[in-house]
Every structure is written in C-alpha cells, then in structure tokens.
C-alpha cells in the first residue's frame, strides 16, 4: 500500500457561543482550512500555544466532533462521509491518548474493566490474559488489574490510557498532550514508552503538544499552529523556522544549560481574542515584520512541498 495513511483537506471548525436572550451570539473559527498528510509510520507533531486549535484538530480528525467543512481520508476511506455504524467499526484502527490522566479513566472502573472496554464496545472477544499482556506492554505489573484509577499515580494512569488506546492494535494514534499534566521525570518515561511501542507495533502518531522542544525531539515533521491556522510545516526537526511565530516559539524555550543562556527578546503586543481576529494575518499584533499587507490580507500556506509557510515575509 502506498499513499499517506491520513489526508485531511480544508478542515474547518466554527464554534458558536452565546446566543439566546441573555448574550450576544459570537462565532470563532477554532480550526481554519487545515490540509495535511500523514505518512505511514510517521510521527507528525502539532505544536502551538493555548487556543491555537490543536486539540480541536485532533478531535476533528477522529470525528469526535464534526467539522464545519473539509474532508478526512483515512487509508483511502473518507471518514467525513462515513455513516455512524461504519465509523464506529473504523475506530478499531484509530485511537486517542488524552491529556488528563485523572479524568480519562472512569473512577468506577477497575483497570481490567478499563482495558476490556475496547473489546467490549467493538464486540470483539477478548483473548485470555489480554489484560496482563496489555499491562505488561506498558510496563505495569499484572497485580494492578484489580486496582481503581485513584490508587495509581499520574504516570501509571497515563500508561493505562496508552494501553487502552492500543488494545485493538490500531494503525493510527492521536496523542493529545499526553505528558502535559505530568512531571518531567515521568514525561520522559512516557515519551520513551511511546517511542518503543511505535517501533514494536508500527504505529503512526499525531503528537500534539505545546512544547516545541519535546516535539522536535519526538517527531519527524512538525506542524505549527497559531489561532486556528497552520502557519508553518517544518519538514524535519533540524529545519530553521521561516515563520516569525515559529521563530519566537523557538526563542522562548530555555535550554537546561547556563552556558547557552540567551538574551530574551519576548514578543511584544497582545494575543487577539479568537472572537475578533485581525482581518489579515492573525500574528500581526505581535509580529516585528508586519506590513500593511499582513494586516489586510491573510497569507495562505505556500505550496512549497519542501517547507510550507504562511507568511508574506518569511525569514
């Protein structure tokens, strides 16, 4: 089989809030016209700050929320056109690991029951010893099978979340900030586990994070989002940024090395409200290079396959 595992075209999500008698109705575009391809076996990173639409994008791709516009094609099947029953069957092949390990497990379920759930909802027979095997695969002792989530540490819970996602041996896993609520020492454990599992099971990952350093460590290709739009796709982890926002993100991280201290040149300006984005490029309010054109016209992602960027004045 050739071709990308997943292709999305012009994906857009518009949210409405308020309305009714007591407040004005307001609309925001959480994800605007995003097109991407993910190759088999690839780890595609999506990075951006809060409110950039990265988590919405993840849920759109898995159709946990419905897109306003656009297409999602998974291994040749158009998900966006799939009826509910076919989509549910398709979910065997796609899975998601969530950010919050505390609320992603039902507090009333034992781990054995959590791990049996994928089989149960897909009406598949669960092989004997499956629970023990799944626990072992994510480095947890079998004895935890009868425990409840509140008896586990955050890292252990996230391992359970990963085991659940991989239970039906999916091809594609969306990782929505899987380490954001964990301590750094645990974060590194989980990332190492995810890398091992990918090698063993031949998985394709969409890895969502706010941490550019982590994404550059873990991913093959990196999509940078700002206020709902893709502003740049870094073709590899070494690529120099071409969008001023990506550049600012890179300059905002601090290396754990006093020898590499740098002069901080923070972004000026304020982040615009997602309900009132500027007419042109959303980054104009904070960009040092913004011109009149940037303020009036919205740049689109260049079709340069080597290194797409959405900027009139790329670096």
């Amino acid at each position: 089989m050739t071709g990308p595992l997943l292709r999305i075209e012009g994906l857009t999500k518009r949210f409405h809030s308020g309305g009714g008698l007591f407040s004005r109705e307001r609309a925001m575009i959480a994800v605007r016209d995003v097109s991407l391809e993910i190759a088999r076996g690839e780890v595609l990173g999506v990075v951006g700050e809060s409110g950039c639409g990265k988590s919405t994008l993840a849920r759109l791709i898995l159709r946990l929320i419905e897109a306003t516009n656009g297409r999602i094609v998974f291994d040749g099947t158009e998900l966006t056109a799939l009826p509910a029953s076919a989509l549910r069957a398709m979910r065997k092949r796609m899975a998601m690991v969530f950010q919050d390990p505390y609320s992603s497990l039902d507090p009333r379920f034992t781990l054995a029951r959590v791990l049996a759930e994928p089989f149960r909802v897909q009406s598949r027979a669960m092989p004997p010893d499956a629970v023990a095997a799944m626990l072992a695969a994510v480095g947890l002792p079998e004895t935890l099978a009868t425990s409840y989530p509140h008896q586990l540490s955050g890292g252990q819970r996230q391992r359970v979340g990963i085991a659940r996602a991989l239970a039906l041996r999916p091809d594609f896993v969306v990782l929505d900030e899987p380490t954001a609520s964990l301590d750094v020492s645990i974060q590194a454990q989980i990332i190492a586990l995810l890398a091992d599992l990918r090698d063993k099971m031949g998985l394709t990952y969409l890895f969502i994070s706010h941490d550019l350093g982590l994404v550059r460590y873990f991913c093959d290709r990196i999509v940078v989002m700002y206020l709902g739009s893709v502003v740049e796709v870094l073709p590899d982890t070494k690529a120099a940024p071409r969008h001023p926002y990506t550049d600012a993100l890179m300059r905002s991280g601090f290396a754990p090395d006093p020898a590499r201290r740098r002069e901080i040149a923070p972004l000026g300006g304020e982040i615009p409200s997602p309900f009132a984005l500027p007419a042109g490029c959303a980054f104009t309010t904070r960009c040092a290079f913004a011109s009149d054109r940037c303020r009036s016209e919205r740049p689109v992602l260049s079709q340069d396959p080597a290194h797409p960027v959405a900027c009139f004045h790329p670096l």
Binding site: G18, L21, F22, S23, R24
Partner: protein, 308 residues
C-alpha cells in the same frame, strides 16, 4: 445593563402567562363544587344554572381563562364565592400581614444566618462551628407548625410573654417570625459557611495575605463579599421557600394572612380566592428570582460581562 434588565423583565411575561394557565387549570381539576356550598339542599337545577352563569362557570374553559386573565390584569380578581366579597379586597387585607411576616422572617434568617455562617466558617471544625451547625441542623429538622405550637406553649402559655395568636401588635409577630426564621436560618447559615470556606481557599486570598492586608479586612472586604454572591442568589431563589413556611405558621398562629386565606379557601373550594392567593405567591417567587439575578449582576462583574 439596562437593556439586559429590560430583556430580563420581559422574560417574566411568558413565565407569568404559563404560571397563570397552570394556576387557572389546576383549579378546574379540584374536586368539589363551590356552588354546592351556596345552594340550599334540594334547590332546583335552574337555580344551579343561574348560579353558574352568575360566576361564569358555564362557559368553555379557554374563554373562562381569557376573561379571568383580562380581569386579573385590570386588578379584578373576581368575587369570592363563599365570602361573597371582592377577592381583591380579601387579598388586600391579607397581604400586609403576610408581607410583614415574610419580610421579617427573611430579614431574620438573612441576618442571623449570615452571622452564624461567618462565625462557623471562621472557627471551622472547632467548637463554635460544631455548636452552630449542630444547632442549625436540629432547628431545621422540626416541622414548622410543631415548633410554632411548642414555642407558643412555652412562651405564650407558660411564660405569658407573647400573645397566643392573632395579629394585634408587634409582639404577636415575634413567635411566628422566629418559627419561620429558624428554618430559613439553617439554609442561610449552611450556604454562608460553605461559601466562606470555599472563598478562603482561593488563590487570591493567599495573595491578599501575602500583600500584608489585615485579616479582618480580607475576611470582610474580600472573602465575605465573595461568599455573599451565592448566598444572595440562593436566598432570592428560595424566597418561595420562606413563604411556604409562612403558610403553615400563619395557620398555627391564626394570623389573617395569605396562607390562612389559602388554606381556608382550599377547604371551602372557593376557586377565585385560591387562584388569587396562588397568583400572589407565584408573583412573589418570580420577583424573587428577578431580584436574585439583578443582585448577582450588581455583585459580580463576570455575570455582567456574560450578559453582553
């Protein structure tokens, strides 16, 4: 805020209509016929028909409703079938008694409840807290009418401090207000205590201490102000609750208020009076929720912002 207020008041119109339909139709489910009370035993059918026509009871229900509502809006609540007096007159007589009792009970439970709630929160998990919360709980487990009778027995009969019943003079109000107030106090104390304790846990309170502000200032200007938002909201929403307490207590103390009127007219199947009493109580409840929303908006800028 003014456009919001106007919209909020306009919202009451459909609610009022819905409530009036319910009140009107409920009464037609009631068994028993007031006409029976008026007719002499063995009166001819024609006398009954005449009587029904006189009170408009022979028309189709929607028409009766339309006529009734039109009159209500003009302040004409009909004529009491048993008492044979304009209902508006009866209501006007009863209303001041109920307002006085309800208002004082509300005041009592707010003041005492907030005070006790503050004390309990400040001495959380120590004896003042335990004593207050225990006392408040015990107070709220007694049926209102029973408490009223016991208070009457002790303070009026044995001690002779207050009149046994009736509505003459201010001292006749003491026991009824206490009886209703104790129930309301329990509610207010509990909410105040929880709201205070929750407010204290907020980050901004830590920061206020870190700014070096005196503790009394933090408790009164920040924590209490914060805690009062839910207290006022719930208090306003449950004005009806306190009125409910008033119904039974009025009967116990034989006070000529709305509650007594309602119970009496229910017993006599006197439709127009029951309708009017329910309408008045419903209006009080609706005004209470309106008041709650407005006070909340005044106290909390976030609520104002959400209104747009």
């Amino acid at each position: 805020m003014l456009p919001w207020l106007i919209r909020r008041v306009l919202m009451l119109v459909p609610v009022f209509l819905a409530v009036s339909v319910v009140i009107f139709s409920i009464l037609h489910f009631l068994p028993g016929d007031p006409i029976d009370n008026l007719l002499k035993v063995g009166s001819p059918a024609s006398a009954r028909a005449k009587m029904e026509a006189r009170y408009g009871l022979d028309r189709p229900l929607p028409v009766q409703y339309g006529i009734w509502l039109g009159k209500v809006l003009q302040g004409d609540l009909g004529t009491a079938i048993v008492a044979r007096r304009p209902v508006a007159e009866l209501i006007a007589q009863a209303m001041p008694h109920s307002l006085r009792l309800g208002g004082l009970a509300l005041l009592f439970s707010s003041v005492v409840g907030v005070t006790l709630g503050i004390i309990a929160a400040l001495w959380r998990d120590r004896w003042p807290d335990r004593a207050i919360m225990g006392g408040v709980l015990v107070g709220s487990t007694m049926p209102n009418f029973w408490l009223g009778l016991i208070l009457m027995l002790v303070f009026s009969v044995w001690m002779g401090w207050f009149p046994v019943s009736g509505a003459r003079g201010w001292n006749s109000l003491v026991l009824p207000v206490l009886t209703i107030g104790l129930g309301g106090t329990a509610l207010v104390t509990r909410i105040t205590r929880v709201a205070m304790i929750e407010a204290v846990r907020q980050d901004f309170v830590t920061l206020l201490h870190a700014k070096g502000l005196p503790p009394w200032r933090i408790e009164l200007l920040h924590v209490l102000r914060h805690a009062l938002i839910p207290v006022v909201t719930i208090l306003a929403l449950r004005i009806g609750w306190i009125l409910g307490g008033a119904i039974t207590v009025e009967v116990v103390f034989a006070r000529p208020g709305l509650g007594t009127l309602l119970i009496k007219s229910l017993g006599q199947h006197d439709y127009p009076v029951v309708q009017a009493c329910l309408l008045m109580l419903a209006m009080a409840v609706m005004l209470g929720t309106l008041l709650g929303d407005v006070v909340q908006a005044i106290m909390d800028p976030r609520v104002r912002a959400a209104m747009g």
